[in-house]
């Protein structure tokens, strides 16, 4: 018997295409002896599809003809099991329900990576590979992420946060506050997006307003923090569960601009001319990062602490800002479903891609077992014994 693994990707997110690249890569690396992969592609309009064409990256180039070959599907729970049901079953053409043993969301960004998808799987009660609702949601909101880390005495940069409404009501006051309290150069980011979308580094006053406008076109809330001098970006991946996790080797992305842009990360930018379909794996980077051993150890320990503080599960990538002059390290953001699942970091840590997936599946079943061992539903109906005394309408009787 093979384990039926439903791989979810796409979704209503600005990182739709990035997710496709990560998912196709992962599906290629799954050990087919052990797993039966059911691709579930969530189109930009939110409809879910399955079909064999989804395994091939080439087929995504012509989306209309791809969609024609696919079948709309949905997941539902029926009699203690979760199945994928085809929605285009006709009288003569009928595809049977497929039991789903584990769900694997390889999705990035809002409406999916932010705990939405985790919530859907929790609702169904199916084991799934990724952070749970709370850790995913905290990881998505950069402000809440900073607040949680601060509460755990973990290092983050101070920031100022405001909503679109607050900004539009009195933009001068906010711009003034930013100048006074943070000063230039500073970084403007939408509070809840990954993959560097909508992020700008502002070196002087006259560029600030347009940077904020750009940010507000992606999110309702903007976060502004000081740009670190003599900056090095360092990333570290963590794999496992809060009860048992480990950190990978570190990477240092090579920046073409001052900050890593969406183009650098996913559109084949950087120095490698290897085509645009390799995702995070194709980015120019140094793995392992060129850092002294104790700094490496410090960042790895910090990563494990952050993973536990948020209660993460599966594989995450935590991005740090390192001030090369002072040696200060600040946690910048967490990707609860990192691009390419950070497999390139685990490969360097001695875990190849199929093994990485095996270990991820284990985390999903581990969490499910822990949940199964807790009581959520009382098997017996407590109301049944309420009448045993035969005294109808008795007041104050406690069970």
């Amino acid at each position: 018997m093979k384990i039926n693994m439903a791989v979810f990707f796409g979704c209503r997110s600005v990182e739709h295409e990035v997710s496709i690249i990560s998912a196709v890569q992962a599906m290629k690396s799954v050990n087919r002896e052990k797993y039966n992969v059911l691709p579930v592609y969530v189109a930009k309009n939110g409809t879910s599809y399955t079909g064999d064409a989804l395994f091939d990256i080439e087929s995504y180039k012509d989306m209309p003809s791809l969609l024609k070959t696919l079948h709309p599907v949905t997941l539902l729970r029926e009699n203690d099991r979760v199945v994928m049901r085809y929605l285009d079953n006709g009288f003569f053409k009928k595809n049977d329900d497929v039991a789903v043993d584990v769900c694997f969301p390889i999705v990035h960004g809002t409406n999916c990576e932010d705990g939405t998808m985790a919530g859907f799987f929790e609702y169904l009660g199916v084991p799934y590979i990724s952070c749970d609702i709370i850790s995913a949601a905290v990881g998505m909101d950069k402000k809440v992420f900073k607040d949680v880390l601060k509460a755990h005495n973990l290092p983050v940069l101070d920031c100022i946060c405001f909503t679109a409404k607050e900004y539009r009501a009195d933009s001068d006051a906010i711009l003034d506050k930013l100048k006074r309290e943070i000063g230039f150069p500073l970084i403007v980011k939408p509070v809840n997006l990954g993959s560097s979308v909508g992020i700008s580094k502002v070196k002087e006053e006259n560029a600030l307003a347009s940077a904020i406008d750009l940010g507000l076109s992606f999110a309702d809330k903007i976060l502004v923090e000081k740009a670190v001098n003599s900056l090095r970006e360092i990333n570290c991946s963590v794999l496992g569960t809060p009860d048992n996790c480990e950190a990978s080797v570190l990477e240092e992305p090579v920046m073409s601009d001052d900050i890593l842009s969406f183009g650098d990360k996913y559109l084949g930018g950087g120095k490698q001319k290897s085509g645009g379909s390799k995702g995070m794996a194709s980015l120019s980077r140094k793995v392992p990062a060129d850092l002294p051993d104790e700094k490496t150890k410090e960042i790895q320990d910090l990563s494990v602490k952050i993973f536990k503080a948020l209660g993460c599960s599966g594989v995450v990538r935590i991005d740090y800002l390192l001030n090369n002059d002072t040696g200060e390290v600040f946690a910048n953001e967490i990707n609860t479903i990192p691009g390419s699942l950070a497999f390139y970091l685990w490969r360097e840590s001695g875990v190849d891609y199929p093994e990485l997936i095996d270990r991820l599946v284990d985390t999903a079943f581990y969490r499910q077992r822990k949940r199964d061992n807790l009581t959520f539903v009382y098997e017996s109906n407590i109301l049944e014994s309420a009448n045993l005394g035969g005294s109808k309408g008795q007041k104050g009787g406690k069970l």
Binding site: M1, K2, I3, N4, D101, V102, V361, F365, R369, D372, N373, T375, E379, S380, S385, L388, G389, G390, S391, G396, G397, K398, L399
Partner: protein
Amino acid sequence: MEFELLLSLILLSLSAVFSLYRQFQMLQQNSYFAARYFKWIKGSFAVRTVVLAILFFAASFLLAAKIHIPLLILSALLFVTRIIICITVAKKSIKPLKFTGRVKRLFAASVLTLCLLAVLFGVFERSLAGEICYTLLLMFAILTPLLALFSKLICSPIEKAFNLYYINDAKKILRGMKNLTVVGVTGSYGKTTTKFILNRILSEKYNTVCTPGSFNTTLGVVRTVREMLKPQTQIFVCEMGAKQKGDIKEICDIVKPKCGIITSVGEQHLETFKSVDNVFNTKFELCDSIEKNGGVCFVNLDSPGIAERIGKKPFATPIGENTDYFVSDIKSGPLGSSFILHIKDTEISLKTKLLGRHSIADICAAAVCAFYLGVDEIDIKSAVAALTPTEHRLELKPYYNGSTLLDDAYNSNPEGCIEALRVLGSFEGMNKTVITPGLIELGSREYEANYNLGLACAEHADTIILVGKKYSAPIKEAVEKSDFDKSRLIEADSFKQALGVFLKYADKSSVLLIENDLPDNYLK
């Protein structure tokens, strides 16, 4: 055929269908063993059977003499009575009839039999064949136990075919799971608890499935394999029950266990086993099977039934005092227990909410087995601390009006019952009540076991409520001989009535122990 006659036959046949509810319920509760079912008929329905026999002869006479109006009245009366009885039984039973596929097939066979006889009677009305048909029809319709057994007989080839298909399907599923380890758990007492504890500990590390509830027959195991095993399952914990020789071997031949636990060998089901030696040999069929499959079978040497005969089975790995695996420093109280588990040179100190020494023995066996299967010390510790009692097995629950319930309804082990009373006794300063109908199925030792239970009740409880008279007489005798306050010994006709007595005075300072609450066929 005249209208009255036709109506009479239809009413009689319909009344038979309603009457079958009770018959099939009892057949089901007696695991479809004809002999045990007969014993129930003989034991509790002698008077009713005689009445039915008289009715049968009366009806035969009326029909033969062609006196149809009284026959119609008789049929109508029987019809109404049986509907009322059927509804009452269905509502009040502790274990109502479960409409399984098998029961549905039995009903179908009965209805078909009655219809066929009625049609044949119509066709051969005036001949000898017709007379035989109506005699049979009346016999089956009035004496429904015969109809129940007849239906069981004609269904048996179909049942066998179904079972064989299910068994082969289960074998195929198990063969397809190369990485699956099967752990068998059997024993006269404690196997269900041990199974759940083992499953809980193993689930810290592995994807496990165990047989649900007290599913432990071949078909229960087969159903678990077909419905609950998942592709990711790494360990299947399989409870194996036996009522006769060969039962355990039959299950082992399907699931091929690589590891196992035998919790105890005692006097349960002596009515079918005849001797404790037979019980021992049957339980150790698990050990034999594991020896063939190359694994380890842990057996509890603290169980006298095993200790006396262990020499016969050198392959078994003993657990208990004076072995490599044992517990020491046991401390227990109303809140739970703590003890140290020794596994060769490893010492693990454990805490649990479970009560009673038998629970600690179960934890010990399960933990030793889990350790052997690769679960770490820390995981064993945390799993044991998180254990909750199995439902109805000395389960501590908040109850009516702030009182405390010690629910031990599934216990049927004499030593276990006395231990449960000892636990009740440990609730110092509280008003302690026990409700029990007594112990059953212990053959020649039934009297002694119930007498000892009575002594324990008198020693540890403040109020004793006995349910029914059949099995509780020796308890009463023992209590009356002790210096127990006779006014606090109460007899009740039903479990509900007994509970009503307690509920009248239940408050924050009262604790109620429900000991071995039996299915309907044993009460009275």
